[in-house]
Amino acid sequence: MLVKYFLTEEQSLLVELVKRIGEEYIAPYALNWDEKEAFDMKPIQALAHADLFGIIVPKEYGGLGMGVFEMCLAVEWLSYYCAGVSTTYAASFLGAYPIILFGSKEQKEKYLPDIASGKKLCAFALTEPQAGSDAFAIKTTAKKEGDYYILNGVKQWITNGGIADIYVVVALTDPAKGPRGASAFIVENGDPGFSVGKKEKKLGLKSSVTTDLIFNDCKIPAERLISREGTGFMVALRTLDYARCGAGAQALGVAQAAFDVSLKHAKRRIQFGQPVYNFQAVNHTFAEMAMRLEAARALVYQVAKFIDSSLKEFSGASAMAKCFATDQAMWICERAIQMMGGYGYMRDYPVQKFFRDVKCLQIYEGTNEIQKNVIARELSKLYK
């Protein structure tokens, strides 16, 4: 990389360990997982043994107590090897954040140690068939009956569905109040009335698992409510504010991988008696790719550090990091295929996988159009 980011010794050690896991447990298998649409537990097990599921979990609950920036570094370099694996990993944080940020002491003590050790994977369930970008349109209900809540409804496109043990689910406790009537709950795998729907077939991210979640009179103890009734969307949106930066970091990893593979190819591929890299149309494209990649990285890193500085208002910044980095990565992966020509298009080579994987990053955790809504809303607050 032409730009240096001055990581601390701990952060460098973290990146080194993630790269090691990538080389040993992911790189030799990633294309095969993609081809077979297969989820493999081994890289997840390795990440667990390496303590990396504890990266954002506070130390008193067995985690590493690190910040969003370190989470982004880990996610970035996992994505370099396989964005599907990093999706499984990052989605688990999406499920863990509500408990870390808003969980009661009892909830933290019960769930966080197992999350930190990687014994239990998490998932976050907001989207429903009729409620995608329009998250407030959710219909899943949670009705209080004595010491229990009874959940009914369907969640759609939930990453880690069926492989997660802990699900954070947003449901309406008071449908009459609209968005202010939503609450967040912890549902455990095995709760009565909870089941997992079919596994989705996707364009990319094929080594990650996406399913529906079905709640059919799902009965959970009342103490599974996170925070108070009515705070469901506050919990969800705050979680997304934190986690979005991770989607930006995924984009960096995939784009870096596409860049590396295609540039090495261009230096070796001989046409017209010389490496194609010598042609200006090719090497200027790489110059442009490198600039865009480093601009995205600088933004994601800076926003992650900004979030870690514990300032309150960072929705706009985290939306910028997600939207900009994923858009740049999409462009870089498309150019990487073009720079490799036919080799870029063939499924024996990885660049086509990067291209398919990276597309989802512009869509999930809030589409890039929704990110622009957030940025515009925050700007409007500044320029009253």
Binding site: E10, L17, I21, A50, L52, L64
Partner: protein, 262 residues
């Protein structure tokens, strides 16, 4: 419960040089990597630590550049690191090495189990586990796939050519571990952070009460008489044609070369 984990640094294949006089490997100048077979022994130690809460002490005989490898084992599961290092250890064959290991292991009594890799990638003898066991007067098992502690006994599952064997042994036992375990864990980030400020204890020949004549080249009955590169002088020939004709040609050739009586 105490487990002693023995690991070895082997020269990275492309960096190794051979001493032209003694024909032994020049370990000091080579870049050392963990003997690949030892990763299974480290994994087994980690699994037993999880299963039984065992204390794991990792030891290695070698020059000071094996310290990063001890730290690697600490990163996975070891609680203590011991480096067996002395100039007089240099050039030791499997017997002299086993003498050093046996003395060091004895110093760490009481212990239930000693784990080693099946063999080393440089020497490929697989002699050190049984030789060390013989010097300590304890049993040894090779190619062990799994280990259980049951009612004061060790039950070891061993991979043989055709079967799995289950063997009951009274501890202590030296086990060399099956090299193709289904999963080998990476080090833990927490432990890697921790080990940055730790150094291994160092034991020399004096600490172990070993005499110079038992060690190094003078203590090693094995003599490497020569080391040479494998060369393919001639390329194989490919004959094509009628099978009967070719068979006749082959018989003539085998007679010429003296493999068949004329």
């Amino acid at each position: 419960m105490r487990i002693i984990l023995c690991i070895k640094g082997v020269p990275k294949p492309e960096t190794v040089k051979v001493d032209p006089e003694t024909h032994t490997l020049k370990r000091e100048s080579a870049e050392l990597i963990l003997n690949p077979f030892d990763r299974s022994a480290i994994e087994m130690a980690a699994r037993l630590k999880e299963r039984y809460g065992a204390e794991v002490i990792v030891i290695s005989m070698g020059p000071p550049n094996v310290v990063p490898l001890l730290k690697e084992a600490y990163g996975v599961c070891a609680d203590r690191m011991i480096l067996l290092s002395d100039r007089v250890f240099a050039g030791s064959d499997t017997l002299a090495t086993s003498r050093v290991l046996a003395k060091a292991i004895k110093k760490l009594s009481p212990f239930e189990l000693i784990l080693m890799g099946l063999k080393s990638a440089d020497g490929e003898t697989a002699q050190v586990p049984p030789e060390t066991a013989a010097l300590l007067g304890i049993p040894s098992l090779i190619n062990v796939k799994d280990i259980f502690f049951e009612k004061g006994k060790i039950v070891a599952v061993r991979e043989t050519e055709y079967t799995l064997e289950e063997i009951e042994v009274s501890p202590p036992l030296i086990a060399s571990i099956y090299p193709k375990l289904d999963y080998l864990r990476p080090p833990s980030f927490k432990r890697l952070l921790e080990v940055r400020n730790k150094e291994p204890e160092i034991l020399t020949s004096k600490d172990l009460g070993l005499k110079e004549e038992e060690l190094g080249l003078s203590g090693s009955p094995t003599r490497v008489s020569g080391v040479f590169e494998k060369k393919f002088v001639e390329r194989g020939e490919i004959w094509e044609g009628d099978p009967e004709e070719l068979a006749k040609r082959l018989i003539i050739l085998l007679k010429e070369k003296g493999f068949l009586k004329a």
